[in-house]
Symmetry: D2
Subunit: 401 residues, 4 copies
């Protein structure tokens, strides 16, 4: 039952799904339970309360939907918007592209703002669109916090500032799939209206939970939104929240206990320390890329992503060969370049339950692979650059001092 066994542990450095902590695997190692017993609602109540913390919201309403990120997108859109509604949406890579594709198929009027892949959302254009939209025809701004395909982090604080500058009432819908629990995300402060993530990303769970959080304004919008929805309808959840039974349909018992464990670990480490750890991992990776003499797909420092780094390879190398070789020879899983950057970049995911020595093992592997495929890397150079930084920055583990 194990396909393509390789000795030792698989080095999982795709930007999701990510490594699951043993504590979470343990919590999920259990038989099914009756979700209508008093136990599951009692636990669900704590989960809904605690999950708000990862969004940094006290006023939002969370939904734990048995779906993936794609379903969470759909939930965000169909509950707040009506067919034909005008949306401003930023295309900056494969995942924003897929979301836009969904928006179009759901019959919204999508005003696409495209950037070169490797650049962030063009907020100047946003500004001009808002400026000219005195009639408030724009109903929502859709933006990925972190574009997983290119390793670009958008500046949501600025988006909020622009919206505020024009006192524009558009909803702010944010894909936080590869950011929440890893990057600094502030739902309340930035007045995000819908934020969402998937369990298999920085929460370090298996796939299966689309975690969506709605502001009061988003909930209000859902009362008049005419998009057809049933499975993804927030109202069904809200009805059961009121009843205190919480679930309109069967949840995964295992994922609930897993989420409990995942949140406990995050709170034990401290969410802000988790975010700092991701910053260390991202910085170290970028230093290695630089030491190798390679380019980061992300064009400016302001967009650098602490959860994924897309590395540009020289034109004479096919980046998919690097990914293949990583898997075939080193038991290392790297991310492919997708769509426009296929063959041109490979991606190192550095999010979730991961520490610095795991990353250094990966970087050492990438160096060997680069050499394998004919790139004249100096072995050890990336590790040295990353280590020099890390050795000055890794804190002691608090529980072990």
């Amino acid at each position: 039952m194990d396909y393509v066994y390789g000795p030792g542990r698989n080095h999982l450095f795709v930007p999701g799904p990510v490594n699951i902590p043993e504590q979470v695997l343990r919590a999920m190692n259990r038989n099914n339970e009756d979700y209508r017993s008093p136990a599951i609602p009692a636990m669900t109540k704590t989960l809904l309360e605690d999950v708000k913390k990862i969004f940094k919201t006290t006023t939002g309403t969370p939904f734990l939907i048995p779906t993936t990120g794609t379903g969470a997108w759909e939930s965000a859109l169909t509950n707040t918007l009506s067919p034909g509604d005008r949306i401003v949406s930023f295309l900056i890579g494969q995942f924003s592209l897929l979301w836009i594709d969904q928006q179009q198929r759901l019959n919204f009027n999508v005003d696409v703002v495209e950037s070169e892949w490797g650049r962030g959302a063009d907020l100047d254009i946003l500004e001009s669109k808002l400026a000219s939209d005195t009639a408030h025809t724009i109903k929502a701004i859709c933006i990925v916090h972190n574009e997983t395909a290119t390793g670009v982090t958008n500046n949501l604080a600025t988006v909020r500032k622009i919206l505020d500058a024009y006192q524009h009432p558009a909803l702010l819908l944010v894909d936080g799939v590869s950011s929440i629990c890893a990057l600094d995300f502030r739902m309340d402060e930035w007045r995000v209206d819908v934020a969402l993530t998937g369990s298999q990303k920085a929460l370090s769970l298996p796939t299966g939970l689309g975690i969506v959080c709605a502001s009061a304004k988003a909930l209000e919008a859902s009362k008049t939104a005419k998009s057809v929805r049933v499975f993804f309808d927030w109202n069904d959840y809200l009805k059961f929240y009121k009843l205190g039974t919480y679930w309109p349909y069967t949840p995964s018992i295992q994922l609930l206990y897993g989420l409990r464990a995942a949140l406990d670990l995050i709170f034990e480490e401290g969410l802000d320390d988790v975010i700092l750890r991701h910053n260390r991992l991202g910085t170290a990776t970028r230093l290695a890329v630089k030491a190798w003499g390679l380019k980061n797909c992300t064009q400016k420092e302001e967009w650098y992503s602490d959860t994924v780094t897309a590395v540009v390879v020289p034109p004479y190398i096919d980046s998919s060969e690097i990914v293949k070789r990583a898997w075939k020879r080193y038991n290392l899983s790297l991310g492919l370049g997708l769509n426009k950057v296929a063959g041109k970049v490979f991606r190192i995911g550095h999010l979730g339950h991961l520490n610095e020595l795991q990353l250094l093992g990966c970087l050492a592997g990438v160096e060997m692979i680069l050499k394998d495929v004919g790139y004249p890397v100096k072995l050890g150079s990336g590790v040295a650059a990353a280590s020099a930084y890390l050795q000055n920055n890794i804190p002691l583990i608090p529980s072990r001092i």
Copy 2:
């Protein structure tokens, strides 16, 4: 992390989620993996091939959707039908009611055929509707194979016969949530167009997979169906099937390995022997109910369900007290009466990974609870009746002969 601990094993007799075999728990006890590596598509291919067997189809196309039964319903409807389409749908209990509610909210024109709860679908009315529908305005027949709320199994072979008698082209959409892998279900023979189940039912997995199988005719219908859909769109799957990468979005690695293990166990026991085992469990339960002097909610033998038995309690007893007491005193999880039969019935689920002695332990528990709540049951009577039948009918375990 364990809420409301009770000594010994929980006796899980709700009609889903059901007991997970240790083999499946083991298979799922694993870290995440890159689903774009060659390993996952290779496994997916075998899963898609093998999952067809539980539908008894060779020509159907299966979809393993990261969702629940409710999502599988939506997938079946939105991929084959257009808003306004006329559907004949049978209301015979809470789950058919919920499906009908979904059908209405998805803007179909639902022609509801209601039966008294405890009776099967009224096929005479179906016949008259088809007879008068010479214009073929009816686009689909929606029917639950087994109504989980009342323990009623509909006769799908007869549905097919009636459709054929009138040479009616309506699609036949079947909810097999509490039937497939437990009751005799024959997709190809009955020319079912869409059949669906959820992983947490007779497959004995955690919740999280909506398993949908579409006939060629259903796939054809999907080409013109105008219902808006993205997450549930079969086309996205079909596109990735062709690419050989299989997944339009991230699957749960754990559920894939779990499904592999679950199918392997079912095939090792033999699907027909699994169905026979469910028949033994159902028969034994019904004999016990009769011995207790209680009524089966199911009004006629032809509708008896081998996966769940809804037991009618005397008017002076509140059936929800039985369910509460089962949980509070005996670590036994029974199903509540829902909606119209709330307080009037309790339900014994006897599906999935379950054997006869487990059931007898449950029946012994129910006897004590009946006495607890003031019903003058003769202790041991139900167990005796069930045992007398089982002792003559349990086969030797083939691997142990």
Copy 3:
């Protein structure tokens, strides 16, 4: 990797190894760790403190030895006695026989006091031996608290009274393998000098820990005991206790975490409530045996065991056929009759992580098997008798009230 698969859950009713709680399986589902890190000694310290509670001792010194019950026996003997030492030892069944065999092979002078199998230790003979031993040649009394082969519980309080009556200084060494954590055992009150159990018995863990507890008098004896020992030498443990590193050789990390979880569950339920639960399970089983018209191998009520019942079958039945049939047809594991009672008794183990409905499932199974092999049992009779008692005696689950 699963041999001889049968559908549904195996009903494990041998008197050990017993069912492991899911909580314990989860706790053990982990990678190895460095046992010389600060974490393992910290945990070990709590384990050594808490494990004393299951012996009801505050003054004893516990040892968690990576071995089985047989090794724990050897540890008890070799640390306290010298070759040639006179021991009074009671032979009342297969396990006391095996211990005596060990005592003889370790070159002690074993004064065997034999009882008919099914009877308890003959304490009159003990009394007469002590009375005549004014020279105190008897160095130790070796006795099983509960003889697993016959389901006989000896009265240790009386043993202590007799020793005290003669002010005899002999050490009191007790095999508590099938008693501790299930029967009322009071190390301090009865001044037991060495008590021992194995992890796979009422603690409900996998096999692998021999848990031995020594009184101050036993530790004193160990200073002069001349039996050769290294692996089992308490001194090596005591040396590492002093160092605070606790382990003279590598422990099983998994069993340590498992023991932590097992103790936590026992303390959550309450040790005295655990003992009461075993009394209910034992009583219910005996009532069933009586209702079946069969004899308990245990000849008098004073020796009834609440952890295992040996059931005598009529002469025309081979009890091993019952055990075989249980396994081959009902996925039920019963205990064989051993040695003198081979073919004559089968055993129902009812210890460890087990509740009443599990037991009733087993009893229902035994009824069918009895009928299978030609014994004219009235189906349901045993379950009825057990249920009538249990329905009046099962408490509510405290955490669920």
Copy 4:
């Protein structure tokens, strides 16, 4: 229940216990079973057959004893020797010292041949002792194949040659605890009489199985060996082997299934390829040590160990600070220097289920720690040296080609 949590995965580089493959954890994640059912003997039979392969013997008789390496030592000695027997035993580090201590406490006449720690067994002295022992007073040669404390591998082929040269009949007893399944070990070819290992070493299981293999000559010796033994007595095993029930006392069901999985993985990779992988890991580690400008505790290349490297630190550094810091800051577990080399060396274990990138992560960590403690290491230097070698030597993973 998790002590001293640190983010990400613990990097386990002590020379045992080692990392357990997920496949093995899965196999062990199971309830207890009746070990007297037909299933367990059937599995045991395959285990006994297959475990011989890791010793490279076809004629040996294996014993799977529920104990640790210390117990396996005792089993090897007490089954083959009598008190007073003369043994030649080599003291080259802490583990050979502990074995010698055991030999002395078991009352053998131990002729200790000491080497400086960091050197191998002095085979010249062996030769001279054998030469002068024409009376064959030496009954056994006891030698560790690999001294875990210093990272020294002894040359067993030479030991055999010397014994043969003098046609000396002494038994050859080998501690293979940190060698078997990792280093080239050839029981039959070298005519080793007793070889032994522990499950938590290169087999990559939890602690709990002492695996001992005896030659025909050793079995013959056991018939007359007068050392007192019961728990460790091979005869009890041999008796149950003949009966086909295999177990004189309760085995750990979980470890048996775990052993099955561990052997399957080793055979899938190929034992010789496993050994080659260890050679790569050892070589890479030594190259890193050299690049750091540090000394290997092992004094000559002929003794280099492929399972553990003891690294000598400069006099101004306390090696235990390195180990502490590794754990406190980097979630890295290294081995302490023991006894004579305490404070002077730290140890990197590189055995068991481990691959090259895991090792490189560890080496990168060691570099940072060396810097932390004031050693002027060039960051990246060790990783570069190791990578340069590995990049030329890692084979493709056969299942993935």
